[in-house]
Symmetry: C2
């Protein structure tokens, strides 16, 4: 059988069953077909979807934003131009996050380096990257 029941999907995706129901109510997870008994039958690829949601959350996207990301598929009723515009906006946002994370990473590396040798250590390297005029 190429389908998963709730518990199996939850186990494979590393969340619990209630979370799946919760995502379904929120519209993040499309309602899967049911068997006669009412049991859900998820396609196997749902695992990737759930994991995507979890990763995106760790990257600072809210469930609403993730919804927007997932809605960025070209479908009848939505024009290409609309999709493109939203994609570009999101893309800019993502690039900015990357830049900020790189700055943090640089600061952390500096801290590691300053600690690996002897000699005086920086006072607060983590905040260092803020020296530039960041609004």
């Amino acid at each position: 059988m190429g389908y998963l029941r709730t518990g199996e999907l939850a186990r494979r995706a590393g969340v619990n069953v209630e979370t799946l129901h919760f995502y379904e109510r929120k519209g993040l997870l499309p309602e899967p077909p049911r068997r006669a008994s009412g049991y859900r039958e998820y396609p196997a690829e749902s695992v990737r979807l759930i994991r995507f949601i979890k990763r995106a959350q760790e990257l600072g996207f809210s469930l609403n934003e993730i919804h927007e990301l997932l809605a960025l598929r070209v479908r009848p009723g939505v024009t290409c131009a609309q999709v493109r515009e939203r994609a570009e906006r999101k893309s800019a946002e993502v690039r900015r996050k990357i830049a900020d994370l790189k700055a943090i990473e640089r600061a952390l590396r500096k801290l590691t380096a300053s600690c690996s040798g002897r000699g005086p250590v920086a006072i607060c390297p983590v905040l260092e990257y803020l020296e530039g005029d960041m609004l």
Copy 2:
């Protein structure tokens, strides 16, 4: 005078006063000196600290994690080795976030590209990056 009162700090950092008190209670914002009346006197650099906290939140760090980041300053009582180890762990986490964001950005760019010309569009480019074996 080189100090800020609560309202001024809040205004400059783009948060509101209650948030400052909240951060102080949580230990994220060190308790500033007070004048006789009880009014807080923040050093001007607190603005950067608050902004750092807000940015880090947008990058998916919880207040507790931000606390850990901020605690990564070398101080008496903490050995260099400890600081270094924590910094390295955080650094790995940050690199992973960067990699994930880059994948998302690639997917978004592909989507933009597929939409800019004529021709058939991808079905769900945003999820595409998950094709690789990502756990």
